[in-house]
């Protein structure tokens, strides 16, 4: 069972349909999903899930970036985690990274720097962000665009982040994450 965490502000009336349901549609081709809003998730209610996907959110929605204390469970749980866009930014901050302004919208070229389990040749990806993560040294960088880091993996844990939106283009990234763990 996969937990998909809705990272959208409750003030965004369409975040769920635009950023969460497309992930669920891709993931449920392989495995059943449960969706919870990030405000409902804590370390005590993660037991039923095998892996966790953190959704992206609208460009004006940066609400989780100011609430990283709510996400310490990402550090403490020993489950595979894939953070997408806002999910990656939030996970990166939780592990001591920092944000930098980086605006990319639309199809964007990325270069794969390190062989990994999620993608081998996702050279064109769909980007929709105003910020990128400068990850802490606990992460290795898997891919980057001309402007910023696009994919990371924690060196000791199965915690991944992708800044691009694989649910829009490159859905195999989500499916390979599910199949790998």
């Amino acid at each position: 069972m996969i937990l998909v965490v809705d990272m959208n502000s409750l003030k965004n009336p369409f975040g769920f349909s635009e950023f969460v349901l497309p992930i669920v549609a891709v993931a449920e081709e392989l495995e059943k999903c449960v969706v919870k809003h990030y405000l409902e998730v804590n370390e005590k209610n993660l037991n039923s899930y095998d892996k966790i996907i953190l959704s992206g959110s609208a460009m004006k929605n940066t609400v989780t970036l100011d609430q990283t204390a709510r996400f310490t469970w990402i550090k403490d749980c020993n489950k595979p985690v894939l953070g997408i866009c806002a999910g990656m930014q939030t996970a990166g901050l939780v592990f001591g990274g920092r944000l930098k302004k980086c605006r990319e919208i639309g199809m964007t070229e990325i270069a794969t720097l390190k062989a990994n389990q999620l993608f081998s040749s996702a050279s064109k990806v769909y980007a929709l962000h105003n910020y990128a993560v400068v990850p802490s040294n606990q992460f290795e960088v898997l891919a980057e665009s001309a402007k910023c880091v696009h994919a990371i993996k924690h060196k000791q844990k199965n915690t991944y982040g992708v800044l691009f939106h694989p649910e829009v283009r490159n859905k195999e990234v989500i499916q390979r994450f599910i199949q790998a763990f």
Partner: protein
């Protein structure tokens, strides 16, 4: 939140409008009327009908002409959104984008620059399910343009119903068409929908078709009681 809907008068923008109105306040429609028949962004047959549709919905319409030159037309769209922000205090823009990253990314750029929310309530929805929702909601949406093999003039002017969905889905399997016309294979015009206070009656129309390309052009129409 006060929302403006990018409105072409077709099934997707009309359904997006209904989704938006369920949750927030839709305060205006925004239509770009493109002179360029090849525009990837805005061209659609019967764009003039948006005036009647806006009246049927009881919503003000920002109707902006554009020559439709690639990228130039985006400046016209940006001006229209800026006008919606000024005249109607719009805080967010709603689109009917489903699959097109080309359209979605360009509109996201404009909204980002202007500092308004951009919402795509139909984004990545299953296309057959979208068509079924249009029928179950009781929309009267007709095919107003066909632009791909094996579609032809026999489709023009026909209302989307369950039988048509079955045919479109079969053609998508056989010929790789997008069933709801996401690849530009089909254009639609909505004559009636849940939020329409009146419906549109077509009084005079003509079909212009050649092979697998054609349009159903509404030449004269009026609003009638539902």
């Amino acid at each position: 939140m006060r929302l403006g809907v990018l409105f072409s008068g077709g099934k997707d923008s009309t359904l997006a409008l209904h989704k938006a109105a369920e949750k927030e306040e839709v305060v205006c429609l925004i239509t770009l009327v493109s002179e360029n028949k090849e525009s990837y962004m805005f061209h659609t047959p019967n764009i003039d009908v948006t005036t009647l549709q806006a009246e049927a919905l009881g919503l003000p319409l920002i109707n902006k002409a554009t020559e439709g030159k690639p990228e130039e037309e985006l400046k016209d769209l940006e001006a229209a959104v800026a006008q919606a922000m000024k005249d109607f205090k719009v805080e967010g823009v709603v689109t009917g984008a489903v699959e097109s990253v080309y359209q979605a990314a360009r509109i996201q750029c404009i909204c980002n620059r202007l500092g308004v929310w951009c919402f795509n309530p139909l984004w990545k929805r299953n296309q057959k399910a979208l068509l079924e929702e249009i029928v179950s909601e009781g929309f009267k949406a007709i095919i107003s343009g066909v632009f791909a093999y094996p579609l032809d003039n026999t489709w023009l002017g026909k209302q989307i119903d369950e039988d048509m969905i079955t045919k479109l889905v079969a053609l998508s399997g056989e010929y790789g068409l997008s069933p709801s016309g996401e690849g530009g294979e089909i254009e639609t015009t909505v004559l009636d929908a849940t939020l329409f206070k009146k419906k549109i009656e077509v009084l005079n129309s003509e079909v212009e078709a050649k092979g697998n390309s054609g349009v159903f052009r509404i030449k004269q129409a009026r609003l009638t009681e539902k």
